[in-house]
Amino acid sequence: MTPHVTVQDLSLRFEFVERDTLSGISFSLEQGESILVLGPSGCGKSTLTLCLNGLYPRELDGALSGDIIINGKPTLSYKPGQLSRIVGVVFQDPETQFCMLTVEDEIAFGLENIAVPREEIEERIDDALRLVDMEHFKQSTISTLSGGQKQKLALACILAMRPNLLILDEPTANLDPIARIDLIQTIKRLKSELGFSLIIIEHQLDQWTDLANRCLMFDKNGSVFFDGSMQQAIRSHRKEIEGEGIWLPKVTQQVLPYVNDKTHDVPLTLEDFSREAHLWSGIQWDENVENIELETQDIFLECNQVSYIANDKTILKDISITIREHEFVAIAGANGSGKTTLSRILAGLQRPVSGTVFLGGKPLTEWNEGELRKEIGYVFQNPEHQFVMNTVYDEIAFSLQMKGVHESEIQERVGRILKLLGLTSYTKNHPFTLSQGQKRRLSIATMIVDEQKMLILDEPTFGQDAATNYEMMLMLEERYQRGTGIVMITHDMELVHNYADRIIVLHEGEVVADCRPAKLWQQPDRLLREWGLDLPIQVKMQRLCKKEDQYHVPTST
């Protein structure tokens, strides 16, 4: 049998770019096989997607060499649009994959493109919706769906066209953990039901590894440095993997520092780990010890019976919370629980319908805008939104200039920050031309240059790659050590576990928990799930170990 997909010595270079985006890539994929494609951002993984579905070289401004053969025919010999019957792609951003207004029309769109007869379209729409478990949404407007539902719809659109190769291009990057697990479960079920071949491009590997063990690893230069099983990669290429900033599954990350035996298979999933938990009794679990006495800190921000109503819908109901000076607080909760609204109210960007927010004992409404901004900074989800100047240097200098700081001091302070960010050689660049990670760092830098007492961050890790998040947390940690309080909206429970002093959980506009993270994890699983939360991996593994100990103690004595 000939392989389903064969890529031979594929190289690609965009116009006006000095180096190859993809260089010398070769691999093949059997019918029904699954493969994970891993690599740092900007390594050309998404470009590979467009080569495989035939958009490149047709739409490419640049040069491509090498061959891509799908079902025994080179992609170039397929007519435009024809390959979409064989190759289906689900992209990262749930907002921009659709061109119609309703679910039904959107699924029909793809089928109409390949001229499926009208009677059959109807049937295929129902089939596809049944596969992703969304029959009830046939007539819904797409804009009313949640992110997870949109990604499932994107999947349904592709499935309706019955491809036998499915490419998932970071399909879960913009989803919260609960929606993410739901989507992965759906894909797993479909894979065994329909048996398509699967190419998964991902940053976060958890849950995917039992679907595909073979992985293709890219380095920064767009070439493949490893093709084989995940286990093998960890054994033989650990250095490269770390160097390229490829993120291993969370369980593996926890265990890896304790691996001495090079021949042993490291666990990739919680199930693997549970089978051999007794082997890992030596792991030191980070207990997140109480480093500061919370009660001794002064109250910084106080929220008194705050409610918010928009379009007759109660978003926040009687919220009363306090935030002390120099505290790291996480705000968590399912989508639509009112997290973002609360953060905007805390920052004084929105006014509550009723209730008052006090900053240093004075209501926010009595603060003058300029003074308020010196106290509280706010970092938005998309870094680009906050850029106001035309060069990186001016961007950082901006708020200092507004404050009327002396020019020589500005130069000195900006220089120091640029050095800290590693952006010294980019001073004259436009902020929009930076890479994703650089933009994120710059956006935080513009906020902390003022040395505000508190920084609020709205899901700063959302849709960013792991390396960017790591750098960002380093910056925040440094800031926190120097006395800035941090309030962060996040879905990332590992992050909460590692950094937060306190977590506030919102559920349907009300505060349902306000305690130390360690205390929250003791809540029943059912309750956590209802609030849209998942236990952090460390806690799950720790519990498995404990269970193992209890199991082993009676037998050994």
Partner: protein, 259 residues
């Protein structure tokens, strides 16, 4: 409901014909009759949220009234100054009054006809029907549809950018020049993200096999049926009745470049 089931292209065509025909007549009676019958037709043949409907009609009412009043006050010398009409104890030449009324009702009847189309037509169906009946290129049509989805997204994004800039301490300005430069500053992030979104959407559409050529099937097929011709006939009849009534009452006058 009858009006909702009509072929959107034919409905638009019918409305345009009536508007053109209406433009040929310049008297108060013909458009008044059409205005009233259009609203009655909406009542009978359409399912409409009336509160919303009159909210939409309100600006036209104000505009029509303004037009009526200014035309009445700044009318040119009448040919027959003897005939007058009294409104609120003011005397106005009858001739100017009729011209003013004709202008005002004209605005209203065109507004009512357009609203009839807008309130009973789904924009997506209209565009699909344009592809099917008028052979509009799918490339343009689906592009417009995708763009239509973008508008609310851009509105939300503008709000976020505004807040983000406020946080940076960009002062709220009140001068026109300041406002201008502020909007220039909003434009860069807004356009940058719009271009990126558009590109992603285009890629997603193409990878679903969209090529822009006409050899495609349609889930929602639009055809021109007896109903559509019936609607055209109804509208033309209404027009004819209106013109005849106006003629019988001695008001009928063709449009002659008045303002």
């Amino acid at each position: 409901m009858f009006l909702h089931q009509l072929n959107p292209t034919m409905k638009a065509f019918t409305i345009v014909i009536i508007v053109i025909l209406l433009a040929l007549i310049f008297d108060p009676i013909t458009p008044s009759i059409l205005f009233l019958t259009t609203i009655i037709l909406m009542f009978v043949g359409g399912k409409v949220n009336w509160k919303r409907y009159f909210l939409y009609l309100l600006p036209f009412l104000l505009f029509a009234f303004g037009m009526f009043w200014t035309t009445l006050i700044f009318a040119k010398q009448p040919d027959l100054p003897g005939q007058t009409i009294t409104i609120l104890t003011f005397d106005f030449p009858r001739e100017s009054f009729i011209v003013a009324l004709a202008l005002a009702v004209r605005v209203l009847s065109v507004a009512a006809l357009s609203l009839l189309f807008i309130f009973t037509t789904n924009i997506v169906h209209f565009i699909l029907s344009l592809i099917q009946q008028l052979k509009l290129s799918p490339k343009i049509a689906y592009g417009v549809l995708a763009g239509y989805r973008f508008l609310p997204m851009m509105k939300d994004e503008l709000k976020v950018i505004r807040e983000a800039h406020r946080i940076r301490g960009v002062n709220q300005v009140s001068t026109i020049r300041g406002k201008w430069s502020q909007y220039k500053r909003y434009a860069i992030p807004l356009l940058a993200s719009a271009i990126r979104k558009a590109e992603r959407t285009a890629i997603a559409m193409e990878s679903k096999g969209f090529t822009g050529d006409r050899s495609r099937t349609f889930l929602k097929q639009f055809t021109v049926s007896g109903k559509d011709w019936l609607f055209l006939v109804i509208m033309l009849t209404l027009y004819a009745v209106a013109v005849y009534t106006s003629y019988s009452l001695g008001f009928l006058k063709l449009y002659d470049g008045e303002l």
